[in-house]
C-alpha cells in the first residue's frame, strides 16, 4: 500500500505545493501554523474542493484534476483524526465508533480501553479518552490511509508524553501509510520515521528526524528542531576555522566552511554553562546574564543572552543559577553549524 501525492492547493496568501510518497510508514508534516499542513490532510481526505494534482492510493485514483477525477470523501478509504477530535456530541462513545462501520465495534472499544465509556457522551471524557475514541472511530472503517491532524494539541502536558508513546506503538502495529500533522518537532520525531518541514506551502526538507537535527538545510528547519539560530557574517580564519561575527557583536568559531551572511546553529544541549570560562576544549564563550530558567523535569532550559542552553537540573542546582546573574555559555566549534542566509 502506497499513497502518492502530487498536490497544488490554492490558498489566500500562497499555494501549497507538495509531492510526497508515503509507504507503510509514518510521515510527519511539521511547520508553523498557517503553513498549509492541515490543508494537505483535508485534500487527501477529499474535503478540499480546490485541490489540484493527483492523489493515488494503492493504485486507486482519488484525485486527478487533469482527468477531472475527484472522489468524494465518503469514497476515499481514509481515517482522519481531526484536531480537537470532532467527536459527535449527541452520540455515545459506542455510537461514535460505530458510525463509520455502521455496526458496534466492541473489539475496538476494548483495544483502545474505552469499553467502560461506551455509554458516555464525548463531553464527559478527558482529552486522552477523546483522542482514543477519535482513533477508534477513524479505524472502524478499516481505512487504507491514516491521517492525524495535531493529535496531541488538545492534550495537557502531563498526559502528552504517555499518549505519545502509546500512539507511536499503535502506528507501528497498524502498519498503514500515515501522515501526522503537528507544529511540535518533538511529537514529529517521536511518531514519524520521516519528517517534512512545510513553510508557506513549500516542503523545505524531508528527512529522518535525526538527519534534520544533524544537517538542517536551512535556518528555519534548524530553528524548528529546537536549535539556537543566530545571524552573523562569516570569514575564513586561521587553523581551518571559520570566524563568525554575530550581528549582536560577539565572535564565534565553527569548523564548517562558509563566507558572508550565515546563520549560526547550535543545539541547546551542546551549550555548557559555567561561572568562569573553563580551561577546556570549547572555543566559543559568550558571557551574558541569565534571562530565565524553565524546569522540564530533570532538565532546565536556561536563556542566556541570545542563546538557550539545556542543562541537567543537578548542574543547574550546583551552579546556583538565578535570573539576572552573569554566566558564561560555552560550545565547541565542532558543534557550531553554519548555514547560508
Amino acid at each position: 500500500m502506497v499513497l502518492n501525492l502530487d498536490l497544488t492547493l490554492p490558498r489566500r496568501f500562497f499555494p501549497v505545493r507538495l509531492t510526497l510518497e508515503v509507504g507503510r510508514e509514518t510521515v510527519a508534516l511539521v511547520g508553523p501554523s498557517g503553513a498549509g499542513k492541515s490543508s494537505v490532510l483535508r485534500a487527501v481526505a477529499g474535503l478540499e474542493r480546490a485541490a489540484r494534482g493527483r492523489i493515488v492510493c494503492g493504485g486507486e485514483v482519488w484525485l486527478d484534476s487533469d482527468r477531472r477525477v475527484s472522489r468524494p470523501p465518503e469514497r476515499r478509504s481514509v481515517g482522519l483524526v481531526f484536531q480537537e477530535y470532532a467527536l459527535f456530541p449527541h452520540l455515545s462513545v459506542a455510537a461514535n465508533v460505530a458510525f463509520g462501520g455502521r455496526r458496534e465495534r466492541p473489539d475496538l472499544l476494548e483495544r483502545f480501553r474505552i469499553g467502560h465509556l461506551a455509554r458516555a457522551r464525548p463531553a464527559e471524557l478527558s482529552g486522552g479518552e477523546r483522542q482514543r475514541v477519535a482513533l477508534a472511530r477513524a479505524l472502524a472503517r478499516d481505512p487504507e490511509v491514516l491521517l492525524l491532524d495535531e493529535p496531541m494539541a488538545a492534550l495537557d502536558p502531563h498526559t502528552r508524553a504517555a499518549v505519545r508513546a502509546e500512539l507511536h506503538e499503535l502506528l507501528r502495529d497498524l502498519d498503514l501509510p500515515t501522515i501526522v500533522v503537528t507544529h511540535d518537532f518533538e511529537d514529529a520525531a517521536a511518531l514519524a520515521g520521516r519528517v517534512g518541514v512545510l513553510v508557506e506551502g513549500r516542503l523545505l526538507q524531508l528527512d529522518a528526524p535525526a538527519e534534520l537535527v544533524a544537517a538542517p538545510r536551512d535556518a528555519f528547519v534548524a530553528g524548528f528542531t529546537g536549535a539556537n539560530v543566530l545571524p552573523g557574517s562569516a570569514a575564513r580564519s586561521a587553523g581551518g576555522l571559520t570566524r563568525v561575527e554575530l550581528d549582536t557583536g560577539p565572535v564565534v568559531y565553527s569548523t564548517d566552511g562558509a563566507e558572508g551572511s550565515v546563520s549560526v546553529v547550535v543545539f541547546p544541549w551542546e551549550v555548557a554553562l559555567a561561572r568562569e570560562p573553563a580551561d577546556e576544549s570549547s572555543l566559543n564563550h559568550l558571557r551574558a546574564e541569565v534571562a530565565s530558567l524553565v524546569s522540564l523535569g530533570n532538565r532546565v532550559r536556561v536563556r542566556v543572552g541570545p542563546l538557550t542552553a539545556e542543562v541537567s537540573a543537578a548542574s543547574s542546582d550546583r551552579l546556583g543559577l538565578r535570573p539576572g546573574e552573569p554566566i558564561v555559555a560555552s560550545f565547541k566549534a565542532t558543534a557550531t553549524r553554519l548555514l547560508p542566509r
Partner: protein, 273 residues
Amino acid sequence: MRHAFPVLAACALAIALGFLVVPLVAVFARVPPGELVGQLGNDVARDALLVSLKTNLVAEALILAIGTPAAYLLATRAFPGRALMITVLELPLVLPPAVAGIALLAAFGRLGLLGGTLSAAGVDLAFTELAVVCAIVFVASPFYLRQAIASFAAVDRSLVDAARTLGASPFRVFSRVALPLAAAGLAAGAALAFARALGEFGATIMFAGSLQGSTQTLPLAVYAEFDTNFEVALAIGALLVVVSAAILLTVKLLPSWYSTSISPFRAGSSPSG
C-alpha cells in the same frame, strides 16, 4: 441628581410592563374563567378552532417538510445568489399582511398570474381551506426558515467533515449529524412559525375570506364576533393568549433543555467542550 437616570429607567420599565400586561389581564378579568371556557362551546368558536387546527397542522407540516432541506442547502453550500435568495425568503417577515394577501390573490387568485393554469388543472384556491393554508405558509414560513438556516449554519463544520470521511453519504450526514445537532434550533423555529401562523389575520381574510366552518380561523372569528358576541370573542382571545404564552415558553426553555439532554454536564455541543 445621580439617581435620576436609574429612577427614570425604572419608570420606563413600569410603563412598558403596565401597557403590555394590562390588556392581557383584561381579557381574563372581564369574564370569569369558567364562563370563558363555556363560551368556547359556541358554534362559531368550535368551527374556528377546528379550521385553525386543521389548516395550521397542514401548514406546519408543509413548512417543516419543504423548509428543512431548503434551509440546510442554504446554510451549508456557498453558491452565487445565495444571499439574495435568503433575503427574498425573509421578505414576508417585514411585508404588511394585507400586502401578502393581495399578492397571493394576484398570483393564485382566479384572475391571478397562475390562476388560469390552476383552474385548468381543476384547482380553485381562493376562499377555500387550501387558501388559508397558503396564506399561513406564506407569512409564517420565514420564521422557520431563518431559524433553521441559522441552526444548520451553527453546526460545527468539522463534525460534518468527520461524518463524510467516515463514509456517510450526504443524506446520512444530514439525517444523523446535522439534523440532531440543529434540532433544538429547528424546534424553536417551528414553534415561532406556529405562533405566527396561529395568529395570521390579514393575508387570510384577503385571500381566503372569513367563511365560518371553512376559512374562518380563530383570529378571524375574534374579528367577526367582537361586535355581535363580545364574550365569545374574548373567550377565543383568551385561548389564543394561553396558547401563545405556552409556545413562547417552549421556545425559551427548549435550548437549555436540549443541551442537558446531550450532555449531563451541560458542556455545550462542541466536542472540545
